[in-house]
């Protein structure tokens, strides 16, 4: 690794039962459906150290689309940054809050469950939810631990393929990815368009173990236009190497479907998520990322409720236009500085997105609303 000064660097994290380390220690207020998201947000707003993940789904979804939402909700509740979960449902939806709660209990995550219809309305549900969230916050008995780079699971999303992204920001982030993996950490990356546009290269980039799931990913997207249209168009004219610089040079040891959790202890994982910031970051968090790097030529400023998001741009214009929203301008930083920033954030320092605290949470759809 190039930065010997950082190799011994530790940060204080939250030790979880499964050996992962959280960089935040929040209680998650998880709406199982769009109809309960306002109640979930109101509960989280009233309880310190509680965060909500409001979304527009959980109803009128068919088959694989429904499964994807459910899978994602279950996974995010197990993210290392989550100390416990209050599941809030309406009561009549497909993704039933009681089912989510039961599944989480069996995985050793402290859970409470409420439904608006069962308790008799939104007012009552907010009150009971505040009680439940407060209980979980107060009963946290998180072990603080000295952790190092090998305990980081860096999620990476580049939400565009602007020239500045390809030429300067992605290469910078890719070097950090390599450093983290070399130190025994994990890196999870999103952006399925890059794989779909270059299927041969994608298969070759995958290790033997990951080849089947890479094939599955490619099959799923065959014949469909990309969700992130601009990135999709861009990838058609670029090589695999050009569009995956942000991922570093490690082989892809694991390919996950959207919403699936990683089972690797180290190395590089690709998740089947489009290059849309909020949707991709949710998938990265579901895969176990504890901190995310967002490469953005546009300067999308939103954070994410589950993970700190460090914003990197290669575009000086963007850095000037959004000085308090961009953590790092690639041209002015080297990989050691970015890695140091990540370690500082892991240690509790707020990234810029956490300072303004505006977040977006979204789940990718794979089917029409019914």
């Amino acid at each position: 690794m190039s930065s010997s000064s950082l190799s011994g660097r530790t940060f204080e994290g939250a030790a979880r039962e499964d050996g992962t380390v959280g960089v935040r220690d929040n209680v998650l207020v998880l709406p199982s459906v769009i109809c309960s998201h306002l109640v979930a947000e109101r509960i989280a707003a009233r309880v310190d150290d509680a965060v909500a993940t409001p979304h527009d789904h959980g109803c009128a979804q068919l088959g694989a689309d429904n499964e994807q939402t459910q899978r994602t909700l279950l996974s995010i509740a197990q993210n290392p940054n989550v100390a416990g979960t209050v599941v809030v449902g309406l009561g009549c939806e497909e993704v039933q809050s009681a089912e989510v709660a039961t599944a989480l209990e069996s995985r050793d995550v402290p859970v409470r469950e409420l439904s608006i219809q069962d308790v008799g309305g939104t007012d009552e549900c907010v009150e009971q939810g505040v009680e439940a969230a407060t209980e979980l916050v107060q009963s946290r008995h998180t072990t603080r631990t000295a952790a190092d780079i090998s305990d980081l699971t860096i999620g990476i999303v580049s939400s565009d393929l602007d020239a500045s992204t390809i030429e300067s920001a992605d290469p910078l982030v890719g070097r950090v990815a390599d450093d983290v993996i070399a130190a025994g950490g994990r890196v999870v990356v999103a952006g399925n368009e890059r794989l779909v546009a270059n299927p041969e290269d994608a298969r070759e980039a995958a290790t033997e173990d990951a080849r089947d799931s890479m094939g599955d990913l490619l099959d799923r997207h065959e014949g469909h236009p990309a969700r992130a249209t601009r990135v999709g168009q861009f990838t058609r004219n670029r090589s695999y190497e050009e569009v995956t610089r942000g991922w570093g040079s490690a082989p892809i040891s694991e390919v996950l479907s959207y919403g699936e959790r990683s089972t690797l202890s180290e190395g590089l994982t690709a998740v089947d998520a489009p290059s849309r910031f909020a949707e991709a970051t949710t998938a990265l968090a579901a895969a176990d990322a504890n901190v995310v790097v967002h490469v953005t030529g546009d300067g999308i400023p939103s954070g994410h409720p589950l993970v700190p998001v460090v914003k990197v741009t290669g575009d000086p214009g963007t850095a000037v236009a959004l000085p308090d929203d961009i953590d790092l301008l690639a041209r002015q930083a080297d990989s050691e500085q970015l890695l140091e920033r990540l370690l500082d954030v892991a240690n509790g320092e707020m990234c810029l997105a956490e300072e303004h605290s505006l977040t977006e949470f979204a789940i990718t759809r794979v089917g029409p609303s019914m």
Binding site: I34, C35, H37, L38, D56, C59, A60, Q61, L62, G63, A64, N66, L90, G91, C92, E93, E94, Q96, I116, Q117, G120, G121, T122, D123, E124, S159, H224, P225, A226, R227, A228, T229, R230, V231, Q233, R276, F277, A278, E279, D298, G299, I300, P301, S302, T318, A321, L322, P323, D324, D325, H356, L358, E360, A362, R365, V366, G367, P368, S369, M370
Partner: protein, 395 residues
């Protein structure tokens, strides 16, 4: 029965029942800023957060644009602020132009131009305050109920929906249509099994063909996903509530539009005519998206029947909740406006329909619904998924 109300007359002639300043993000990247600005400014500012708009294939983008323009044009909106990051596919200028074409004062705000998130929050509140002054120049004046576009929806349905609440809302629709107004229902998957009844009521062949084609398309989506529609339609809650099949649900659902002739069927978020009689809109059954579609089409008020107890509302249009389930009325009356469960005690459908019509007029005059009291304002835009698009469509 009142045939007039007091509403805000807009430059395009339509009448609003509320006078909000809408804060409309063009994309998910501007969405949380839009919400924060509206929250900071005051309850008269209403944001419409969503998860689309950054970069979508063309047909999907066009639908998103149509809805964003449509909600800005809704007569309940007195003035609008359109917020963008500055680099997304959907530009604030496009949306603002579409809104200001109706004569409404509209401004834009680009996060990149004002120096980022914190500056956008300050600048946004300042612009909203200015827009509020514009909007406040409108005052309520007498209008006829025939100027209402009444959207009706059913969600969290159970067996009582088709027996009590929907027929009662349908009776209110009949009254409004008789008085010269527009009533609109949607949720196309909930025509499946009952579409032959609707087809017979279509006023012309073109409407009839479009209706059947749309039902076919929605039913085709179950095929697309290779699954039984049951689970999505009817939902688990519908099933617990006694609805066994989509046919049964639909036969009960269509009664919410009343008994008059169907004059037309419009696309998702497409403008609904005033003085139009009964006009359908092709939307998913998914409630929040469906209600948004009708509000984007110009519906000033929505009546939403629910057997199980749906609590959702809308930021720009008052949503009147009606239940035909006496147990739900008892358990969740904080979230419900009208009890149609009295039908089981002998009140006639017509009489309940009369009460709903009266509520419609009261709400038009300014009475707040339970959802409004609680600021329950869910908002989501239907996205046409890539699986629904053919591969020939270029993004």
């Amino acid at each position: 029965m009142a045939h007039t109300f007091e509403g805000y007359r807009r430059p395009d002639g339509r009448v609003g029942v509320r006078n909000y300043v809408a804060v409309i993000p063009t994309s998910v990247a501007a969405s949380s800023v839009a919400s924060a600005i509206a929250d900071e400014a005051g309850p008269w500012a209403r944001a419409t957060p969503h998860q689309l708009g950054t970069s979508q294939p063309t047909p999907a983008r066009r639908q998103t644009e149509r809805v964003l323009v449509g909600i800005g044009r809704n007569p309940n909106v007195g003035a609008a602020l359109v917020v963008e990051l500055g680099t997304e596919d959907i530009s604030a200028e496009t949306i603002a132009d579409g809104i200001s074409n109706s004569g409404k004062t509209t401004e834009t705000l680009a996060i990149r131009e004002v120096g980022g998130t914190s500056n956008a929050l300050v600048e946004g509140v300042s612009r909203l305050t200015r827009l509020k002054a514009e909007a406040d120049r409108a005052t309520r004046e007498e209008a006829d109920v025939s100027e209402l576009v009444f959207g009706v929806e059913c969600g969290g349905s159970d067996a009582t929906s088709g027996i009590a609440a929907n027929p009662a809302v349908g009776a209110a629709c009949d009254r409004l249509v008789e008085a010269g107004g527009t009533a609109s229902f949607s949720e196309t998957p909930e025509f499946i099994g009952a579409e032959h009844i609707l087809a017979d009521r279509c006023a012309d062949e073109e409407t009839r063909e479009r209706l059947l084609e749309r039902v076919d398309m929605r039913e085709g989506m179950a095929e697309l996903m290779s699954v039984d529609l049951r689970g999505a339609q009817p939902t688990p809650g519908n099933q617990v509530g006694g609805l066994t099949t989509i046919e049964e649900k639909s036969l009960g659902a269509i009664s919410k539009g009343g008994t008059t002739a169907i004059r037309g069927i419009v696309d998702y978020g497409e403008e609904l005519p005033t003085n139009g009689g009964l006009v359908l809109m092709d939307t998913p059954g998914y409630d929040v998206e469906s209600v948004v579609g009708k509000v984007a089409g110009g519906a000033q008020i929505v009546a939403f029947t629910t057997g199980r107890g749906s609590t959702t509302g809308n930021p720009l249009a008052p949503v009147i909740k009606v239940t035909g389930n006496p147990k739900t009325w008892k358990r969740m009356s904080n979230n419900i406006d009208v009890n149609a469960g009295t039908v089981f005690d002998g009140e006639s459908i017509d009489s309940v329909g009369g009460r709903i019509f009266e509520t419609l007029v009261d709400v038009a005059n300014g009475r707040r619904t339970e959802a409004e009291h609680r600021r329950l304002e869910e908002f989501a835009i239907n996205e046409i998924q890539p699986e629904e698009l053919t591969t020939e469509v270029s993004g």
